[in-house]
Subunit: 248 residues, 2 copies
């Protein structure tokens, strides 16, 4: 069969439209690029609705949907990655891991982390350290944005996310440990055993008052005075690795 | 005076050319965008050779060079940032902090970390945890690339870098602690007191054999089996925070 060349093809149009947050929200779908990521989606049991494969590339097995072969040039045009992709899948958001009703271990709370790359990297780190959920307080970036999915390298399908207005209310049974450059106590002296939520704020704005006020403790990561602050993904990695160490 | 509107203006052409690695290397100069970053350069004593200020914005004090006012549209065209910049400076690379001749504390070694965003984030983390140098083993990204400078948020001017072919030979007096997902020992049990070099490899390729073979110990960061691996910037943050904790 001839590969698809026209950008007017309905499947190609569907993928392109999903670059927009509004479209992802309206449709309840998002796009996943790259073989590793699509395989992670399939392994996690996500429901794929479109599967586009670049001419000459092979389709991942077990997708549960007929692959469409797309000409290289058309594939490059619909890809959100500069270097293009060999495989792109459309995934139904309601087939993603669902947030737990209650927390027994560690959850990560992101308050207004607006860079999708940081949100994706933190999802990846959350998976590495067995966090049970990532709670996204507004206005955090959409974890299904192309840049977030790419940075998560498959963790999109391993850790459930929960978008809420007030993250301080998400899991009332958990202790709330807030991380802040001006925190009272060294994080290493804080109780990070579950159920616990570790909250990180936006790089410039820091934590919202609602989270700071509800926090059981506000901790800091000791650092030299040579730098302004840690990147939020670096701070999250340090905190989650400490919590994981305590849990094992 | 009328703001500069023409992209043929020599100063604007110089800035644009510096997006290319070859040009930065040939000229020994690089561009810095944004007020915070330019101020960090000035505070660190870096030599600025061009200072472009967007029409209506104010010029940072102490630059030591006459600011040129640039029309908003021309400024957006030469900016490497999608959202544009209010200030862009050209910095002489030889006015940057120079690597120490010997190591007494902690140094970070990056082996083939090719993403400039990761290199920049790791520079920022190295500054936060008072690392004395970041050794860049080929083919690591150029720390003066626009994306690296942006991710470093000023740390470009706080931590010296040293680009070498074989990072294992850079500081022979230092213990070499290699980090690897398949390491023999838990990093928390490793001696990270100075002089010590902590080596991280590329995300896919891992550490080169030369570094692995010369390493005094190969450590791992314990993590769940749910994720493939940590992002290199996350691994670096965890290791550097541990070393910093031991040094204070």
């Amino acid at each position: 069969m001839e590969p698809i060349r026209s950008l007017r093809n309905p499947a190609l149009q569907r993928v392109r439209a999903l670059r927009r947050t509004s479209e992802r929200r309206a449709q309840g779908r998002f796009a996943v690029e790259g073989e590793d990521q699509v395989l992670a989606a399939i392994r996690a049991g996500a429901v794929l609705e479109d599967l586009l494969v670049r001419e000459g590339a092979s389709a991942p097995a077990g997708a549960g949907v007929e692959p469409l072969v797309v000409a290289a040039e058309a594939m490059d045009r619909i890809s959100a990655v500069a270097s293009g992709s060999r495989v792109i899948a459309v995934v139904r958001a309601d087939s993603m891991p669902q947030p737990p009703a209650g927390l027994s271990g560690v959850g990560l709370v992101l308050c207004g982390v607006s860079d999708p790359g940081n949100v994706g990297t933190l999802l990846r780190t959350a998976a590495a350290f067995a966090a049970e959920v990532v709670v996204l307080g507004a206005p955090s970036a959409d974890p299904t944005a192309p840049k977030a999915v790419r940075a998560a390298t498959g963790a999109t399908f391993a850790v459930p996310t929960l978008a809420v207005d007030d993250p301080a209310l998400a899991y009332p049974e958990a202790r709330l440990v807030a991380l802040d450059a001006k925190g009272d106590r060294d994080l290493a002296g804080c109780d990070l055993t579950g159920p616990v939520l570790i909250a990180l704020g936006a790089e410039r704005e820091g934590l919202p008052a609602s989270v700071r006020d509800r926090a059981d403790v506000v901790c800091r990561i000791p650092q030299s005075d040579r730098a302004e602050s840690l990147n939020v993904a670096a701070a999250g990695a340090i905190a989650l690795s400490m919590a994981y160490r305590l849990s094992t």
